[in-house]
């Protein structure tokens, strides 16, 4: 707005001078000063940011215009025009400087803003880390509880297995737990299990169902009475009979192997009827710790 007041002033002085002088003089230096002044006027930030310098430039241009109107020497006009040019340039520079200072202040504000964001982020990260640590602690607690439960479960199952095996009069051997089904659990000279035999097979099937990692080998034996071929066949059939009973009770067939040995591997002499009865038997070997059952030596 201020610059508008300069224009009439410049104009009035020019008119006043023109009134008492003949032809107004100009020089290329003065033309240049007037052009620079117009450019500065068209840049609103010059009058706004450098009012003092712009006023000085305005005054200097007025003096150069006066000198031209008075037909002063060209040298003098040029001197004043030069001074006006430099003052206009100075006003432009000061305006530019103020703009850069504003940029510094703005960058300072941006820096504060980024710093705030950094602090916020650090706090968020710390919170996230704390949350994660808390979550991991909870997970660790849960898995510890699970492990404890699993251990308790395994212990309970082991205890139950031990109880059931004790009920079946199982004996611990190098090859695994061995359950002996005596002759009385079979009908005489027959392979079919008696009612008591089926009851024993039922208990064994329960053990196998609850311990799915275990497999069994069913071995059949006879006394030395009768032909060896008949005895071998009978021992095999009795072993198969037990296997069929187990499979019928839901035990996977692949977990049950059979072997008939006939009169081999007697557990007693075959001279009394009591001893012969001991030899007529079926032995069931349970695998242990997931290992396959070792062959009979």
């Amino acid at each position: 707005m201020k610059k508008l007041t300069f224009i009439p002033a410049v104009f009035a002085v020019s008119l006043f001078m023109a009134a008492c002088s003949s032809t107004p003089t100009t020089t290329s230096m003065l033309d240049r000063a007037r052009g620079d002044y117009m450019a500065a006027q068209n840049n609103p930030s010059v009058a706004a940011s450098a009012p003092l310098e712009f006023k000085a430039a305005s005054d200097a241009l007025n003096r150069a215009n006066d000198a031209a109107a008075k037909n002063d020497s060209l040298e003098h006009i040029d001197q004043l025009a030069y001074i006006a040019t430099q003052k206009i340039a100075t006003a432009q520079q000061v305006a530019h400087q103020k703009a850069e200072e504003a940029r510094i202040a703005d960058a300072g504000r941006q820096r504060d803003e980024v710093r705030l964001q950094q602090r916020t982020q650090e706090a968020d990260q710390a919170k996230a880390a704390a949350d994660q640590a808390r979550m991991q602690a909870v997970q660790a607690q849960n898995s510890a509880a699970n492990a404890q439960a699993a251990t308790a479960d395994a212990q309970a199952r082991a205890a139950a297995l031990a109880a059931e095996l004790a009920d079946l009069q199982a004996k611990q051997t190098e090859r695994g737990m061995v359950i002996t089904l005596s002759d009385v659990l079979f009908n005489t000279d027959r392979a079919e299990l008696s009612a008591d035999g089926m009851s024993t097979a039922r208990k064994l099937a329960d053990v196998l169902t609850q311990n799915p990692e275990r497999t069994v080998l069913i071995e059949g034996f006879t006394d030395s009475t009768g032909s060896a071929a008949h005895n071998l066949e009978l021992s095999q059939r009795r072993a198969e009979s037990v296997r069929a009973a187990l499979v019928g009770m839901g035990v996977d067939a692949s977990r049950v192997a059979t072997k008939g040995y006939g009169e081999a591997y007697p557990v007693a002499a075959n001279d009394t009827s009591g001893d012969r009865q001991l030899n007529r038997r079926v032995e069931i070997v349970l695998s242990q710790n997931g290992n396959p059952i070792a062959a009979r030596r």
């Binding site: 003092l52 310098e53 000085a56 005054d59 200097a60 003096r63 003098h76 001197q79 030069y82 001074i83 430099q86 003052k87 340039a89 100075t90 520079q93 000061v94 530019h96 400087q97 850069e100 200072e101 940029r103 510094i104 960058a107 300072g108 941006q110 820096r111 980024v114 710093r115 964001q117 950094q118 982020q121 968020d124 990260q125 996230a128």
Partner: protein, 131 residues
């Protein structure tokens, strides 16, 4: 800095006002010692603002004109001394404002760069966090 500049400017304006008043009717014999002193102050101020590096052409021009003003003063050519002093002051003021602007520009660039670096760091940290 700016107070010194404005003081110098005011002094110059004062000197110019007197000169304008004097030019109308006074003779060329008015001693120009004050004008020369004001201009020397302007040149010194520009020099201490780093104009030798940041506005060498303007400062050299100002010094050359100061030399001529001093020579004219010694020769008791007061009119020429005042003219050279005014020209020198105009150059010196431009030299000073150019130097100040250059310093402000580089300071602004520096601050902006540091802000950009901080922002990059923040973005990188954000990206890492989201991984």
């Amino acid at each position: 800095m700016s107070t010194r500049l404005s003081r110098t400017t005011l002094q110059l304006l004062g000197a110019l006002a007197i000169a304008v008043a004097a030019v109308g009717c006074a003779s060329d014999k008015t001693p120009a010692t004050a004008d020369v002193a004001v201009s020397r102050a302007a040149v010194d101020s520009a020099t201490s603002s780093g104009a030798a590096e940041l506005a060498p052409a303007e400062l050299t021009s100002a010094r050359d004109k100061m030399m001529k003003a001093n020579q004219a003063l010694a020769a008791k050519d007061y009119k020429a001394a005042k003219e050279w002093a005014d020209l020198a002051a105009a150059d010196a003021q431009l030299a000073q404002s150019k130097a100040n602007t250059a310093k402000a520009t580089s300071a602004a660039n520096e601050v902006q760069q540091s802000v950009n670096a901080m922002r990059d760091e923040l973005n990188r940290s954000n990206a890492n966090q989201q991984q």
